[in-house]
Amino acid sequence: MLKDSRAGMADIYRGLSSWRTWSMLAWNDVRGRYRRSGLGQFWLTLSMAATIFGMGFVYARLFALNVSTYLPYITVTFVAWGIISTVVVESCNALSENEHMLRQLPLPRSLFACRVIARNLIVAAHNVLLIPVVFIWFHVGINANILWIVLGLGLLVVNAFWIAYLLSIICARYRDVPQIVSSVMQVIFFVTPVIYLPAQLAQRGVTLLKWNPFANLLEIVRDPILGAVPSSWALLSCATMAIVGLAMVVPFAGHYAPRVVYWL
């Protein structure tokens, strides 16, 4: 157990210190997807805009909400949810997709989790451009609470890291897990307040939301942008999840990560 933990820590350390490698690979991934298109990676921004405006106007009607509050809300939730869900889904292939590289170079396994997260943060940076546009359009201001985003994003990234690291290793061994994960994420999307407001559930007496870790992760990055302080419950539970998750993944990875090359 101790030996495994040490090996796990070493793999994470080596992964983090090869930041040059994963940031390069992440950039190349984003550029690669849009290399031959005129608009380049701003297709990302455009398709996100289409989703937000499409859903914004329809769902504001459906929920009988004011477009000028609802549209800014889903702009923020969609950008944040985009990071969470794509990191989880894409991390499933993080190692198995790089079979060729792993068979030739002695790369740390955590590097590939970092690559997935970096790639999706780059994508998110393109989508974030929509937020000021929407906010200016609907006269939504930001306030000093935006500073909480630093803590929120930090917790999000740490949680994303252990989840991605764990899933990438499990999915290298069991090839039916990616399908399971993507269907589970589909369900989680519906039970997490991405297209609706948490208050709408609360009005109907549903208070289970605070036990949904994804709802908490969403809250700690969403609320600061919308000008509110995230609840201490959400912050604490995300911090706990990060600590427990890391404590769990380190010995696991120490034991199984070296074997990944035999599973590819």
Partner: protein, 252 residues
């Protein structure tokens, strides 16, 4: 000082079929229990690719690996290259390793030649300055000129090989692991490639070359290791081992 020390190294390669790959099957096998235990074993075949290999290579060792196909030569190279962690025993490899088994590693067909050079540099863990030096060297050696600004998917087979070879051999390693000597491109270029590889091998501290070509072996290697079924069955000065190998004489 670069060295390779393998102590009692074993490598067991698991070969899974599609059911061995499934979490669902694994869980079912667990829950259904006893009766199906044998069934589960059929989904994983374990091949012992290296069987208790012990060896020590130091500065100046130029070693050939010989043996039939499937004897474990490539697996041994991969253990030395830190790609395969031994499933038994201990492997300790000290020094900067170049595993020249596949020259195309990490090449992105959509990226340009220049981008690919830089990307490989990053993959090998070089710093910005080292990469800046790498680019002109590779550009000069490959003679690809303007083509380096184009995506490499437009390259001909020969140009691709030139670039891959140029990048792979641009950095002087301490330990070279080679799976057959690579021949590249047209006559004139092949000659330059040979020279470049030779000088790389000369300057390296340890060379391990897996090869079937007895001529190249005697050219580069002073000693040889004969492998069969994952075991080292003979070793010694290259000429003697090759002689026994050719005559099929197993040592006592």
């Amino acid at each position: 000082m670069p060295s390779i020390t393998l102590q009692d190294v074993c490598v067991d390669l698991p070969i899974y079929n599609s059911r061995g790959r499934s979490l669902k099957s694994a869980i079912l096998a667990q829950t259904v229990g006893g009766g199906l235990a044998d069934d589960r074993d059929q989904n994983v075949v374990v091949i012992r690719a290296l069987n208790h290999v012990t060896l020590h290579l130091e500065h100046g060792s130029k070693v050939a690996l010989i043996g039939a196909n499937g004897a474990g030569k490539t697996t041994l190279l991969r253990v030395m290259g830190k790609i395969y962690p031994p499933t038994g025993g201990v492997a300790d490899v000290v020094g900067r390793i170049a595993c020249l088994t596949d020259l195309n590693v990490g090449m992105d067909p959509e990226a340009t030649g220049y981008e690919n050079i830089r990307m490989r540099g990053v993959l090998l863990g070089l710093t910005r300055q080292e990469i800046a030096k790498l680019v002109p060297d590779v550009a000069e050696f490959t003679e690809l000129g303007e083509y380096l600004t184009l995506p490499i998917r437009c390259y001909s087979q020969g140009m691709m090989l030139r670039l891959a070879f140029g990048i792979s051999t641009a950095i002087q390693p301490e330990i070279i692991l080679l799976d057959e000597i690579i021949g590249v491109g047209d006559q004139a270029f092949a000659e330059r490639a040979r020279q470049r590889l030779n000088s790389l091998i000369e300057a390296a501290s340890i060379l391990v070359l897996a090869s079937h070509n007895l001529h190249t072996i005697s050219q580069f290697c002073s000693s040889a290791i004969w492998m069969s079924h994952g075991r080292v069955i003979d070793r010694g000065p290259a000429a003697e081992v090759l002689d026994r190998y050719e005559n099929g004489v197993q040592p006592p």
